[in-house]
């Protein structure tokens, strides 16, 4: 007989109570994992940002366009090694509930600056050859059952009219944080029609993406670009890609902070659930602990018994919770309108935090009953009537 055996037997002494505690911890850990995953999804764009990319947009707002002629001047700034650009096309594909980014991009340079969109060479060459070709993310291909050669009809809103694109490339995201659901087509195709149908908007783009040689130089380069267009009809605001992405989150920052706080409040709830079980358990066994102390068991051995039991409950609960989090995250994503969170995955950090929370909660939850057990004199414990 080892002390470990007593530890396991104690844990299973009240099977129903232990089971309910494990389920309680499991549900809480699942809620923690889900909330953290939603927070991760909000920050996916920020996470995907590259340190060597700057975004130059209109100084007043992102919704205002910039002249295409800025490109060559930006490219001349020292430290800049590539400039590309894109425009937000928007439009309606199938119906208004289908969310995904539709961008008109400079197909000659865009994919050099964004190597995280991995396109097979043959597909990219076919895309380059065809005026109304587009490249879509693997997620879109799966979601809408699209294959190479399929037509994507889109009803324009920012750029009114009926548009038809031919799928010529399907990209795979290089990283987990890369959006797998973006559709990109030739800016030239957009500009040609704009020149014919909306000539006043011709030669306008949404924003520039500036690849720089040294991320440490981003402040100087940003300043130089913005100075270059100061007092022009379209002043610019240049910032790192990360800052640019974060600016999109500012409106939702209160909600995100609330979700973050809630996820950690849940850890507190787990602590109370396990702590309550352990306090009850230790109180019921006051007599037994007094006997063990009388027999000569040390404080560290009693700590092993109590903390061990507490940790078994919390670790089992955390493991259950993390196991359930995976289908819960899938279910959550399925329940949301398509494309709300194009990047939605459980970060390894979330799993690690769940594990650490399980261990820490197990340890902390045993401290109050342990203190009581250690402070209770043997003779008082032996006299205790529960």
């Amino acid at each position: 007989m080892e002390l470990l055996k007593l530890l396991f037997r104690n844990t299973l002494r009240h099977k129903l109570r232990s089971l309910l505690t494990i389920i309680g911890v499991g549900v809480a850990v699942m809620a923690f994992g889900l909330l953290q995953t939603v927070v991760t999804a909000w920050y996916a764009g920020v996470e995907a940002s590259a340190a060597n990319r700057l975004i130059t947009r209109h100084a007043v707002s992102f919704v205002f366009s910039l002249p295409l002629v800025y490109r060559d001047r930006i490219a001349q700034v020292s430290g800049v090694n590539k400039v590309t650009y894109a425009s937000w096309f928007s439009g309606v594909y199938i119906d208004k509930n289908q969310f995904f980014a539709r961008l008109a991009v400079d197909s000659d340079t865009f994919f050099d600056v964004y190597p995280e969109f991995m396109i097979p060479r043959g597909q990219f060459e076919a895309f380059q050859r065809e005026r109304n070709a587009c490249i879509i993310g693997i997620d879109l291909a799966r979601r809408y059952n699209l294959e190479i050669g399929d037509i994507m009809p889109i009803e324009g809103d920012v750029y009114p009219g009926q548009w038809e694109f031919v799928v010529r490339g399907i990209y795979e995201p290089r990283d987990q944080t890369t959006d797998p659901a973006t559709m990109m087509f030739h800016y030239k195709y957009l500009d040609e029609r704009v020149r014919q149908e909306m000539p006043e908007r011709a030669g306008e783009i949404g924003w520039y993406v500036v690849r720089i040689a040294d991320p440490g130089d981003s402040a100087r380069i940003s300043q130089e670009i913005d100075n270059m267009f100061a007092n022009s009809r379209a002043e610019t605001k240049t910032e790192t890609e990360r800052a640019f992405q974060q600016s999109f989150l500012s409106a939702a920052s209160a909600v995100i902070t609330a979700m973050n706080i809630m996820s950690f409040v849940i850890i507190g709830i787990i602590l109370l659930v396990v702590g309550n079980t352990m306090v009850m358990s230790a109180r019921e066994r006051t007599h037994e602990f007094a006997v063990l102390k009388a027999l000569g068991f040390s404080g560290s051995q009693l700590f092993f018994l109590l903390a061990g039991e507490s940790m078994i409950l919390s670790i089992a609960g955390s493991a259950l919770g993390l196991l359930v989090t995976i289908p819960a995250v899938d279910g959550f994503q399925t329940a949301l309108p398509k494309g709300w969170f194009p990047v939605f995955y459980i970060k390894p950090e979330t799993i690690l935090m769940g594990c650490i929370a399980g261990l820490a909660v197990g340890l902390l939850a045993s401290l109050i009953p342990l203190r009581r057990v250690l402070m209770t004199r043997i003779v008082e414990g032996l006299r205790y009537v529960g």
Binding site: L6, R13, S298, G299
Partner: protein, 224 residues
């Protein structure tokens, strides 16, 4: 003349309730020889359990000295006292105090975990102890599957498993029917007679006290 195993000198014990000091034992002087079977008797509140607890090292006196086997246990720290108890004291409680989730043999093995014995040796010791108390057939029974008398015999096996210097028994027959009480007393008598175990027993029961070699009475915290 043989040196006493246990020497109690000028022992005082009092409790505090709010600002009130309640004396429980006063000026106790006592010598007990090795191999003694001594019963403490007296009315409720006379301090006999308190005296037993002090000698067993599970309570601390207000003043005075207790020497057992040459060790002044009143001067030991809590940690030292725990180690001393594990080697020198076997406990027999009125309500047996077995661990309900452990079998008879596992309960007996419990104090042996604190010894340097191997797993196999511990199991052998525990089985021998249960044989001594006549429960060789009940090794794997849980306390709930045993009668009160059998539970107390398991408790006695646990008390003797480590071969302690003294056995302390607080009302060991207090929760048993007459037949079971006789069995337990017979067993304790045998442990004293055949294995020369020093036994200190607190009892209200004159028939239990008759089994002891000597009886000391306590009245209002003093030895009569």
């Amino acid at each position: 003349m043989e040196a006493p195993l246990i020497e109690v000198a000028e022992l005082y014990k009092s409790y505090h309730r709010d600002s009130l000091e309640i004396p429980v034992l006063s000026n106790i002087n006592l010598e007990i020889l090795e191999g003694e079977f001594l019963a403490f008797m007296g009315p409720s509140g006379s301090g006999k359990t308190t005296l037993l607890n002090l000698i067993a090292g599970i309570d601390k006196p207000t003043s005075g000295k207790i020497m057992i086997g040459g060790v002044a246990i009143t001067e030991l720290s809590e940690t030292e006292l725990a180690v001393w108890r594990s080697r020198n004291v076997g406990f027999i409680f009125q309500f047996y105090n077995l661990i309900p989730v452990l079998t008879a043999v596992e309960n007996v093995e419990l104090p042996l975990i604190l010894t340097p014995l191997s797993k196999r040796e511990r199991r052998a010791h525990a089985e021998t102890a249960l044989q001594v108390v006549g429960l060789a057939e009940r090794l794997h029974h849980y306390p709930r599957q045993l009668s009160g008398g059998q539970e107390q015999r398991v408790a006695i096996a646990r008390a003797i498993a480590t071969d302690p210097t003294i056995l302390v028994a607080d009302e060991p027959t207090g929760d048993l029917d007459k037949a079971s009480a006789e069995e337990v007393l017979e067993l304790m008598e045998r442990l004293n007679r055949e294995l020369n175990k020093t036994i200190l027993m607190v009892t209200h029961d004159p028939r239990a006290a008759e089994r002891a070699r000597s009886v000391r009475h306590l009245e209002k915290g003093e030895l009569a």
